[in-house]
């Protein structure tokens, strides 16, 4: 079959959607970031002033640091927990199909509902988790007033929502490892831990990279969880980059500052993703020699 114009026509709706709805607006944002501009006012070209503004604003750097912390803890935490569950399940569990369904359930939950669930569990003085902590002689989680506690709850919530994604990727990859590899290892007298370290883990590196990359890119956008749980509070200490952008774009109506933040986000997420992937590759190769 030779490719004809009709085939290009068939690809065009997907391309047009992505081009017009995501690509063009994202590039347009570069131009907006050079303007001082609000709804109903004349736009004024200000060069890099918006970038200087955010670069010298401590709340921006706080938001940057918070995003960085959340992304790293969440992504690696997910990887570790999902790996644990995947290995456990691959070893055989009763009612396997039903158990997988249950592990997948949080994937179906809206961030809004997840916030409701965890706010209920962590309601000061009467939430179940709080009472559990108190009964064990531990202090309450003061997520409404203590920034560190609030960040921990945001991280907990993200882990809860996103473990299923990483789990599925890892679990299906573990199932795809040929049984012979393990049999050969058994003949060589390898224990369970050695099997995991020398067979399961190295074989899973490509799947882990895929999961990491996807989750890195997606975790970096975190907005709903933070907005609905703390609104960035107390006093903007748990703000993340997407929230900083939202505040300037839709509350203060300073579209130039919001656009500059947007571009900083695009660049940061691309750079960090590249950096981490390269680090991962390096570590893999040094392990194998």
């Amino acid at each position: 079959m030779k490719i004809r114009w009709v085939h290009y026509l068939m690809v065009s709706p997907v391309q047009l959607l992505v081009l017009l709805v995501i690509f063009v607006p994202s590039v347009w944002v570069i131009w907006l970031s050079l303007l001082e501009y609000s709804y109903g006012t004349e736009a004024k070209f200000v060069g890099l002033r918006n970038y200087i503004f955010i670069a010298t604003d401590p709340t921006f750097w706080r938001a940057f640091l918070n995003t960085f912390i959340i992304v790293n803890v969440v992504v690696y935490g997910e990887l570790a927990i999902a790996m644990g569950i995947a290995v456990l399940f691959a070893g055989g569990v009763p009612f396997r199909r039903m158990m997988i369904s249950i592990v997948l359930m949080p994937y179906a939950i809206s961030p809004v509902i997840a916030v409701i669930i965890w706010r209920y569990l962590l309601e000061p003085e009467r939430g179940i988790v709080q009472l559990l902590l108190l009964s064990m002689g531990l202090p309450e989680i003061e997520w409404t007033i203590n920034p560190v506690h609030a960040m921990s709850v945001i991280i907990l919530l993200s882990l809860w929502l996103h473990i299923p994604f990483t789990f599925i990727i890892l679990y299906t990859s573990i199932l795809a490892i040929p049984e012979e590899l393990y049999e050969a290892a058994k003949i060589d007298g390898a224990g369970a831990l050695q099997e995991f370290w020398h067979i399961t883990l190295p074989t899973l590196v490509p799947a882990m990279l895929v999961a990491l990359l996807f989750r890195y890119i997606f975790a970096f956008r975190i907005f709903s969880e933070v907005w609905l749980l703390t609104e960035g509070g107390p006093v903007r200490t748990t703000e993340v980059l997407a929230l900083f952008l939202y505040r300037y774009g839709f509350r203060y109506h300073e579209l130039g500052v919001a656009s500059a933040t947007g571009w900083a986000m695009v660049l940061a997420s691309l750079i960090i993703a590249t950096f981490y992937l390269r680090q991962m590759y390096k570590r893999m190769f040094s392990n194998e020699t």
Binding site: I3, M99, V103, S110, V112, I113, I116, A258
Partner: protein, 277 residues
């Protein structure tokens, strides 16, 4: 699980129990609590034996009568976005599966690359534009947005599934004088129903649950369920949990059941999409 010492089995079961607690218990708790009287919601020890009441659902209907309209909006938007995604990505997936040249390769890379850009960034230029075009607060704008953010993944999933249909079947049809439309609808698509479902599942779940775009682009007429629920949560200081739980249950139970039912396709789609994409 054969030949393992007892203590290993016990530890495994403990972990399984822990996973169950972590994943299912919080969801179950909300559903169960939505049938409790307000005074029992925080009662300890948690009552799992109680006389169920629909009081919270009645209250929800009294306090937030628009809630059911919002659920209807969510349904229309979800179905619309899913349908649009299926149509455009089936066509694109077919072409990417059957043909190869530099233009196509570049465009396939393009849709994945663009997907890496954070969605919130596009809201700044799109918000005024949407207002100028007078499509703010419509189902249309959310359908387009939700679909756009899933066409990349869906195209790759469709391509992976169409790859499995032998090209020779289509060639035979062409030899018999069938045109492209007939070949696609009678030969290729019936053999890729699984792929279509797999690629639809993701956009369906996403559209039903999405918050950010709904928050920014809708105000009253096209408001979705997650948005109204977030308002319920914000409006009640010292939250009146009863109606909130009723609303949360109505929003999440259908989608949780859906995910359990399509689990097979979800896994297949994620595997196909992540290996290729």
């Amino acid at each position: 699980m054969k030949h393992k010492p007892l203590w290993v089995k016990i530890i495994r079961m403990l972990f399984v129990a822990l996973i169950l607690m972590w994943s299912a218990f919080p969801i179950l708790l909300v559903v169960v609590s939505s049938f409790k009287l307000t005074k029992d919601i925080f009662a300890l020890p948690q009552k799992f034996l109680f006389v169920p009441t629909l009081q919270n659902y009645v209250l929800l209907n009294q306090l937030w009568p628009q809630f059911f309209e919002n659920m209807f909006n969510s349904l229309i938007i979800t179905l619309g976005a899913t349908l649009l995604t299926i149509i455009v990505t089936t066509m694109a997936g077919y072409v990417y599966s059957r043909f190869r040249n530099t233009t196509l390769a570049a465009s396939a890379f393009f849709i994945i690359f663009v997907r890496m850009l954070p969605p919130i960034v596009i809201t700044i230029p799109l918000f005024p534009l949407v207002n100028i075009l007078k499509i703010n607060d419509t189902h249309f704008v959310l359908i387009i947005l939700y679909s756009t953010f899933f066409v990349s993944l869906s195209t790759y999933i469709m391509k992976a599934f169409i790859d499995q249909v032998p090209k020779s079947l289509e060639e035979m049809a062409f030899v018999d004088g069938a045109n492209l439309w007939q070949t696609l609808t009678r030969i290729t698509l019936p053999l890729t129903v699984q792929g279509i479902i797999a690629s639809a599942v993701f956009v369906f779940i996403f559209s039903w649950n999405e918050f950010l775009f709904a928050f920014i682009f809708t105000t009253t007429k096209a408001k979705t369920t997650p948005l109204i629920i977030s308002e319920m949560l914000g409006a009640v200081i010292g939250v009146d949990w009863g109606p909130v739980f009723a609303a949360a249950t109505l929003q999440m139970v259908p989608i949780v059941i859906f995910v359990v039912l399509v689990q097979k396709f979800l896994i297949a789609g994620l595997t196909a999409g992540s290996v290729k994409g």
